[in-house]
């Protein structure tokens, strides 16, 4: 039990005048009687059992002192630190932002655990008619339990709550709380948080109380991980931020495709950043950085100690156009996002091939296809027979034919959404299929072939674009997109830069994709609805940080997967310094200390007790007086 106004105890000195008055009162009236013989006997008896008698004799004084004590105590406003404390309608805003995961509590308890315990105590302290609304203030504030006095329900809701990996949207949480408080006579807002509330929040209706959690601000965080294609390798930049005051040391380990690549010891001063760079092989796909605090360094937030990067995701694909200028093809690749076109004449290709430079897609337009195919996929347009003495080209042209009326259209993904009927072609080259599948055939021979040669995907358009009206048709970009997509499937995942947990990821799988599943970092597999071929699929279950694997099936055997990373790069949440006050509107709300809310003042009871004693005293006095109405003969 503690006192809110201990100074009032000084009023206890009023006991002195009461005792003085009593002593004055006890100056006995003198009364002459015939003899004190019997009375003296009585007094002698009395002094024999004095303590009780003296007490009893001063019963009234005792009662008056008790009344005074009760009143003075009531003025001192004592309160119990017990769990009993909630009164009326309570709206609890439970901070579930990422910083609440900081485990700076006792025995490694997270702030969220502590906050949950606080709310649990509030729930325990509810009496029958008290009601509580529980709002989890996360990225998207959620009402966990709405205005209920059902403690079981509230506890269930509380157990279901968890800290997220995001900043909390306090403005939204506040408007939710304000909306919940409508129609309540005396709503009381309780904010359980470690601070980190933004400036310029609106004030809340009703009485606002703040229960702070969190004790330390020591935290080391990975605040950036970026891979950039450099010369012949990837340049990797890692930033380690120390959000605390003390200098921290940590071991930074780099894993590439699951294998440990390098480890470095980093020392970062308080409130400083440290930047580290690596050169890593260009073939690296998944890069993971792990930060492990060294012994003696406190690091209370774990979620920001790992970061991932999936390389290539954002890299543009390079296309080599071998041949003369072709306006249609160059325009097409200029318009298609994520492609970078390089053109060189057919005569230079040999040299270029020897330099070892690789392209994702090589386009042979109106030139003989070399016998040794380059790395990457290959699109051949209007193949030409090789010169005399040259090794036989990979696509052998036998003749030219003019009968280009289409006789066969294979059901192939290359022809998706393509209307071939309006296309007129002057002449085409007859080629050896060479294992390629005929997709479009005319009377004279195939017009479009597709297939694999030496593990490379190869598509062949056997006619000169300039000698057909295909480039002028709507079908041209469609068929080109189909072909490039088939030859070199683009990344399905469209994701912004530095994606945060909770970001919506747009999945744009091939139209043929079936059964898309996403494997979350914790191994959970989410199956996405079968796409309707139109528009992207939006995947929003990205609350976890880590690697997500998207798997989809194009055909019976064609299963592809792709990864993307969600990182916790959130300087605001990494700064876990707990706050003692929060500012709402113009009002600064201080925490009332531990158990601020849970005090139950007892002064009304003390006043009642005082009144009861007063009545008792009156009754005793009355009884003494009533039994013996005194017309005393005083001489």
């Amino acid at each position: 039990m503690s006192l809110l106004a201990p100074a009032a105890l000084a009023l206890g000195l009023l006991a002195i005048p009461i005792i003085l008055l009593y002593m004055l009162r006890l100056r006995r009236r003198e009364q002459v009687i015939s003899s004190t013989l019997l009375w003296r006997e009585l007094v002698r008896d009395r002094t024999a059992n004095a303590p009780w008698q003296r007490l009893r004799r001063n019963l009234l004084l005792l009662l008056q002192l008790l009344i005074l004590a009760a009143l003075v105590l009531a003025l001192a406003r004592p309160y119990w630190q017990s769990a009993a404390g909630v009164e009326g309608d309570l709206i609890v805003l439970l901070d579930s932002s990422a910083s609440m995961q900081a485990n700076d509590g006792e025995n490694g308890a997270t702030r969220f655990d502590v906050a949950r315990a606080e709310v649990e105590r509030l729930i325990d302290g509810m009496s029958g008619s008290d009601r509580m609304t529980l709002i989890a203030a996360g990225r998207a504030p959620v009402v966990l339990a709405a205005m209920t006095s059902d403690r079981k329900l509230l506890r269930q809701a509380l157990d279901g709550a968890a800290a997220e990996n995001n900043s909390a949207d306090w403005a939204a949480a506040f408007s939710l709380a304000a909306a919940s408080s409508q129609g309540l006579a005396e709503p009381r807002m309780v904010i359980v948080s470690d601070g980190g509330l933004p400036e310029a929040l609106p004030s809340l209706p009703g009485e606002v109380e703040f229960i702070p959690v969190g004790r330390s601000d020591e935290n080391l965080a990975l605040s950036a991980l970026a891979a950039r294609p450099g010369e012949a390798a990837l340049d990797l930049l890692v930033t380690v931020a120390n959000k605390g005051q003390a200098t921290g040391q940590a071991l930074l380990s780099l894993y590439i495709d699951g294998a440990l690549f390098d480890s470095r010891r980093v020392t970062v001063d308080g409130n400083q950043d440290s930047h580290l760079t690596w050169s890593i092989p260009a073939t690296a796909e998944v890069i993971e950085a792990r930060l492990e605090p060294a012994t003696g360094t406190s690091d209370y937030l774990n979620v920001d100690n790992r970061a991932w990067s999936v390389s290539g995701g954002q890299a543009t694909r390079r296309v080599l156009l071998v041949g003369e200028e072709n306006l249609f093809l160059e325009r097409f690749f200029a318009v298609m996002p994520g492609y970078e076109l390089v053109r060189m004449p057919g005569s230079d290709f040999e040299q270029a091939a020897e330099s070892g430079e690789t392209f994702d897609l090589t386009l042979f337009d109106g030139v003989p296809v070399p016998a040794t195919l380059p790395e990457g996929s290959i699109l051949v347009v209007n193949p030409q027979p090789g010169g005399e003495g040259d090794p036989a080209p990979a696509i052998q042209v036998t003749r030219t034919f003019p009968a280009t009326a289409v006789t066969y259209l294979a059901s192939s993904p290359l022809l998706t959404d393509v209307d071939w009927r309006g296309i007129n072609i002057a002449e085409a080259q007859a080629v050896e299929p060479n294992g390629l599948e005929v997709v479009v055939a005319a009377e004279g021979g195939p017009l479009l072939l597709a297939g694999e040669i030496d593990g490379r995907r190869v598509a062949v358009l056997t006619f000169d674009l300039h000698r057909s009206d295909l480039p002028l048709q709507i079908a041209f970009p469609v068929i080109m997109a189909n072909i490039t997509d088939w030859l070199n499937p683009g990344r399905m995942v469209t994701i912004g830069e530095n994606p945060q947990p909770g970001t919506v990821v747009s999945l744009l799988p091939s139209a043929r994709a079936e059964s898309i599943t996403v494997t979350l970092p914790d191994g959970t597999v989410t199956e996405m609805a079968n796409p309707d071929a139109s528009g992207p699929i939006l995947f929003s279950d990205t609350g976890q940080t880590g690697l997500y694997t998207v798997t989809y099936r194009l055909g019976p055997d064609d299963i592809r997967s792709e990864q993307f990373a969600i990182n916790f790069f959130n300087p605001e949440e990494s700064r876990i310094r707990p706050a003692d006050t929060i500012t709402l509107g113009q009002e600064e709300i201080r925490s009332g200390g531990d158990g601020f809310l849970n005090r139950r003042e007892i002064w009304p009871w003390l006043l009642l007790a005082g009144l009861a004693i007063l009545m008792l005293e009156w009754w005793i006095t009355y009884r003494r007086g009533a039994k013996r109405p005194s017309f005393l003969k005083v001489r």
Binding site: R25, L26, R28, R29, E30, Q31, V32, I33, S34, S35, T36, L37, L38, W39, R40, E41, L42, V43, D45, R46, R56, R57, R623, R624, G625, K627, R628, S630, L632, K633, R635
Partner: protein
Amino acid sequence: MRLFDDAALRKLEQLTLSADSVRAGVMKGNRRSRKRGTSIEFADYRNYTQGDDLRRLDWNVFARLERPFIKLTQEEEDLAVHILVDSSDSMNWPPAEDDHDAPDHKLRLAMQLAGALGYIGLLSGDLVSVALFDSGGRRNWGPFRGRPNGWPLISFLEVNFRLLTNETPGGERRTTLDLSLRDYALRARRPGLLFLISDLLSPGDVRQGLDTLLSRGYEIALLHVLSPGELSPDLSGDLRLLDVETGEAAEVTLDPLTLDEYATQLAQWRGQIETFCGGRGIHYSLVAADTPWELLIAQGLRRQGVVR
């Protein structure tokens, strides 16, 4: 201020005093003794034994029956009657209000009783002496005998009563009953029936005085006069009680509980005296001061056998 009126005194004429154990007086009184004596009034016969006075032999019976019988007659004797009145300040209580005597004044009742008893004694030919005693000394009346002394007795009492009540109590008149009684026992020449009228509110032990009196052959009737205010005190609050006689103080807080204890104390005190008296053949009677004296004489003392 009269103590008695004539009508009341007339009633007394029919009464006599009686004592069981007091030896016969030296003079013939006109009151019947319990002894068989020489009066002419026949009482009984008994067998003659050797040494009996032959003058008492009933010759007529002897002539008829040839057996000697002694004729017993009533002895008539006189009685020494001592009336001791405690006239200390504690008896002069309660104090007068507005020049009117309190109806329950103890000394007045004591005087009335003394007068009544003395008058009865005088009427029946007893030797009556009255003594008022306190620390200021004794005021004696008598011993006198005979009806003509009736009025002098009453006027003696009335004069002294007036004197005593007009005094302001100032601790001058104390009683040490013990000493006074022993003193009286030594001085009195002829023991007899002794009436002690007192409130016994005296520091000494009254029992020793009574024992001395008993050993001198007195038959004692103790009239214990207490005022109603002493029997059930009409007091309340925190008081410093002052003894009117000794000036001693006792501080008490009076509440129902204390009063109950007082009542217990009083009963115990009375009980002790009563037991003491009962064991020694002392006629004890507690007299509330507001009881009319006629009633006391006519009923209370008669019941005790002191008055017939």
